[in-house]
């Protein structure tokens, strides 16, 4: 998935400083904004991991964030003055204080990347498949490759791959034959549709 990083802070020293530190360790594209209201012009972004680092003391522009969350994996990081303020920033997924060491900053980015930008309370937990995911699992079971699935559902290969990743995470099943068994057990697919000799 594509990744975009936003640093939103009224202090130029903090914006530029944080941006420099990040670029020292990671190859990433960083957009610097003075206020969160400017986020509204980026709501067209889709299928990305978005790391939004925001001033914990300023307005956060919830409307733009909600729009971005619809089509992206959004990780909200609070930029806090100190530990105490960090505890008071519950709307954020992660906290970063101004006194964080470079190692802590690196770790934070790694954790966000590993979780695919998903905060800990993500919806993975309830395990329900979305209707799109059900279509994808059906096509996987029928033996279609990623490219064919993408063409059939008019989505990009990237999106197919991310659906597959989510399916594996939600169901705990990785192999094609395992997913096929799941699909048949849950009536997403009729056993007549597949050649059991071949897939199972």
């Amino acid at each position: 998935m594509k990744e975009s990083v936003f640093i939103v802070h009224r202090s130029e020293i903090i914006r530029k400083g944080l941006s420099l530190i990040l670029q020292e360790y990671f190859k990433m594209e960083i957009t610097q904004l003075t206020t969160a209201s400017d986020l509204s012009s980026f709501t067209g972004i889709t299928n990305s991991i978005m790391i939004l680092m925001l001033d914990a003391q300023a307005e956060i522009n919830q409307k733009a964030i909600d729009l971005l969350k619809k089509n992206n994996e959004v990780a909200l990081v609070a930029i806090c003055q100190d530990e105490e303020e960090a505890h008071q920033a519950p709307v954020f997924d992660y906290q970063l204080t101004l006194y964080a060491s470079p190692v802590q900053i690196q770790k934070l980015i790694q954790i966000i990347r590993q979780s695919g930008g998903k905060p800990k309370n993500a919806m993975v937990e309830n395990g329900e498949l979305t209707s799109r995911e059900k279509e994808v699992i059906k096509l996987i079971a029928l033996g279609l490759a990623n490219k064919e699935i993408a063409d059939k559902l008019f989505i990009s290969i990237h999106t197919v791959i991310s659906h597959r990743k989510n399916l594996t995470e939600k169901l705990g099943i990785k192999s094609i034959s395992g997913l096929t068994v799941y699909a048949i057990m849950n009536n997403l697919l009729d056993i007549q549709d597949i050649n059991p000799e071949e897939l199972i």
């Binding site: 395990g127 169901l171 192999s175 395992g178 068994v181 056993i191």
Partner: protein, 232 residues
């Protein structure tokens, strides 16, 4: 956990970890140790004591894996142990798991189609695993033994690199099988029968992971190094 040493009583091994029962059998050691120490029993049976200790300790402590020590043992020693393990899987564990699965199937009275799917999935897994064990027994191990005997590269090329990939595939299938049962299958079966089947399956998974770890990290590493040297 504390590691076993050669001064420890052989009986304390089983007292502390009964999962080691089949492991000591693979070395030809049987119960009835009296007061003998690990070192004494190994000497009696002409088993390399350090190798024995490395295996039982790896098996007992998940975080213990003395890579450097393992690499110092002869691949022939490793292969001997690995082959015995294969025999144990093929002749004992897989038939047992299958018998337990059949008992689960027999305990199902209605709506058994999902359980039958699980059974087909298991059969697929088993077939794949047996194929892998066969490849190792009939091609890979003999190749390695020849390689060390002749100290010359084979004209047919090496079998080594395919194994690691196969391990991953087999491991994924087994974990899928477990998750299908634990998370997704509606329980139309006798609980005790299923518990016995699952317990056997999970125990097998542990054993198999240790086995693959020794093959991937020790045997294959040794052979690749040796091949490199021969190419010089």
């Amino acid at each position: 956990m504390e590691l076993f040493r050669k001064e420890d009583k052989m009986s304390s091994l089983i007292n502390r970890n009964y999962n080691l029962l089949p492991v000591i059998n693979r070395f030809g050691i049987r119960l009835g140790f009296k007061e003998k120490t690990i070192g004494e029993v190994c000497q009696e049976k002409q088993i390399n004591t350090d190798f024995f200790l490395a295996i039982v300790n790896t098996y007992t402590d998940d975080s213990y894996f003395p890579e450097a020590e393992f690499l110092s043992f002869s691949p022939i020693l490793l292969i001997d142990y690995l082959k015995n393990t294969h025999k144990y899987y093929i002749q004992y564990v897989l038939p047992k798991i299958e018998r337990l699965l059949n008992e689960v199937l027999e305990s199902c009275t209605d709506n058994c189609s999902s359980l039958k799917m699980i059974n087909s999935f298991y059969q697929k897994y088993k077939a794949e695993l047996l194929l892998h064990l066969k490849l190792e027994d009939e091609k890979v191990f003999p190749y390695i033994i020849e390689l060390y005997k002749n100290k010359k590269l084979s004209a047919e090329g090496s079998f080594i690199e395919v194994i690691e990939n196969e391990h991953t595939n087999v491991e994924v299938k087994l974990s899928d099988l477990e998750n299908l049962i634990i998370r997704h299958l509606s329980p139309n079966y006798d609980d005790n029968a299923m518990n016995e089947f699952l317990t056997a399956l999970l125990q097998f998974e542990n054993d198999l992971n240790d086995h693959a770890r020794i093959e991937d990290h020790i045997l294959i590493t040794q052979v690749i190094e040796f091949e490199k040297e021969l190419k010089k």
